[in-house]
Structures are given as C-alpha cells and as structure tokens.
Amino acid sequence: VNESLASHAHDGFPSEADLARVEQLAGGSLQTPACIERTLDALPYDHDYRNAYSVKSVRRALHSDRITCIDAAVLAYGLLDFFPETRRQLLAIHRRGPDGEECGHVVALYWAADDRVGALSRSSFTQLGHRRPLHDDPHEVAMTYAVEYLNVGLSPLYYGFTTLEEVCPDFDWRTDPRPMNFLSSRIQDHYAFRFDIRSDRS
C-alpha cells in the first residue's frame, strides 16, 4: 500500500515521515478509506480550542498530539488522497446551545464503491464520530448528526457541503505549517440548508 500512496503524492505529501506516522497511528497500513477512522481515533481531541484555535494542514494535524474536528476533517480528506478513486467532500453542520452559544462540526465524507456515503470524524461528542458508508446520500449523513445534537439538547441550524479544493485554492492545505483559521468561515460560507425543528410535546 505504501508504494501506492507514494505514487499519488501531492506537493510532497505523503513523505516517508508522513507514511510512518499514519501507520503508527492506524496500527498498520490503510487498506480502505474506513481504515482512516483508526488514524483519527488515535489522536486525542483538543479541548483547548477556545484558547488556542489553530486550524492545521494535513501534515500538521498528522504530526500533532491533539486535534479538533476541523483538523480531523482536513486530515481525513487528505488521507483520502491515498484512494484516488474515492469521491470525497466536506460536510459542515452548525448548532446552537440553550445558552445561545453557536458552534459547528465538520467531517470528511466519502463514497464507497457501492456509492453509499460514510463520514470520517473526530469530535468532543462521541455521538458525532464516524459514520459507516451505509447512507444513500450526504443529506442522510447530515441528518444523523442533527439528531445527535437534538439528543443532547442542542439545536441543529444549518449544514452544507464543499471541498478543500474549493475553499482553499490559495494555500497548500496538505503541508503548510501555518494556521489556516480562515477555513472555518470559508467552509461555513457553504451552508446551503437549514433545519426547521418542531417538537410535538412543546
């Protein structure tokens, strides 16, 4: 698999050190897109993002010891380079809490060979984790995250789809060592759908 990965290198990614780190985190080589789950799961979630928000490139996230959801989405999207036949997108979803605080989650979507859709995700909420490639379309995946927000008392607001090629044409999102915090707002610019929630017991 490593030879296959190296043959699909983009802008110097993956390097030998990148490949070694992937295998270290995943406990072996990535045989399928779903194996990327193990890489993300091996990286602890960064609970300190409110004090030190710093969106990472694929390489920076890969070699980091903590990541947020957006780091994980960028990392997973980049690792999907290893499967060039696999279609991929980003899904972002926004929510509001009972205290009025708003925050968003973003994941990397991928299409399996049977055209079913799954998601690769890292989150502070375990319920917002990966989705197996069992879904008919990306809207159905978005709905699974929306209902989990409802289950914990948060209101899902918006969601949308984009790609890193679309939102980051001016930055090397695979290898740049600098923070890419602008990605958060650029991805949010692609919110294209909203949730109307009604409760029959309200």
Binding site: Y49, R50, Y53, T68, C69, I70, A73, A92, H94, R95, E101, E102, C103, G104, H105, V106, S123, S124, F125, Q127, L128, G129, R131, L134, H139, E140, M143, T144, A146, V147, E148, L150, N151, V152, P156, L157, Y158, N181, L183, S184, I187, Q188, D189, Y191, A192, F193, R194, F195, D196, I197, R198, S199, D200, R201
Partner: protein, 54 residues
C-alpha cells in the same frame, strides 16, 4: 444516550425524494422521537456565530 445504530434506525424519511426530484429544493420531513425535522434550502447567505471545532 442512544448509540449510532439506534438513532439511525429511528430515522424515518418521508417521503423519500425521487431521483428526478434531486435538483429541486429539499423539503423532506424526518421524524425522530418527539421531533419533526424539515430540511429547507437556504435562499440567502447565513453567517452563524462560532467556529468549526466541535
């Protein structure tokens, strides 16, 4: 807290969009427990507060 499979089993889209309707605005209704969730296409740009970090 219900696990992922339980939650996904409870999703009941109605009605499922026909393939020929895919280009039309989405107006599906999902039922999840006491909640009725309707998805609508946003007509104007939105600018929510907060970052993508969850």
């Amino acid at each position: 807290m219900p696990d992922q499979d339980t939650v996904q089993d409870q999703l009941q889209p109605e009605p499922k969009q026909k393939a020929e309707d895919q280009a039309q605005p989405i107006e599906q209704i999902y039922r999840h427990g006491k909640f009725e969730i309707q998805v609508r296409e946003i007509k104007a740009p939105v600018r929510p507060r907060g970052v993508l970090a969850e």
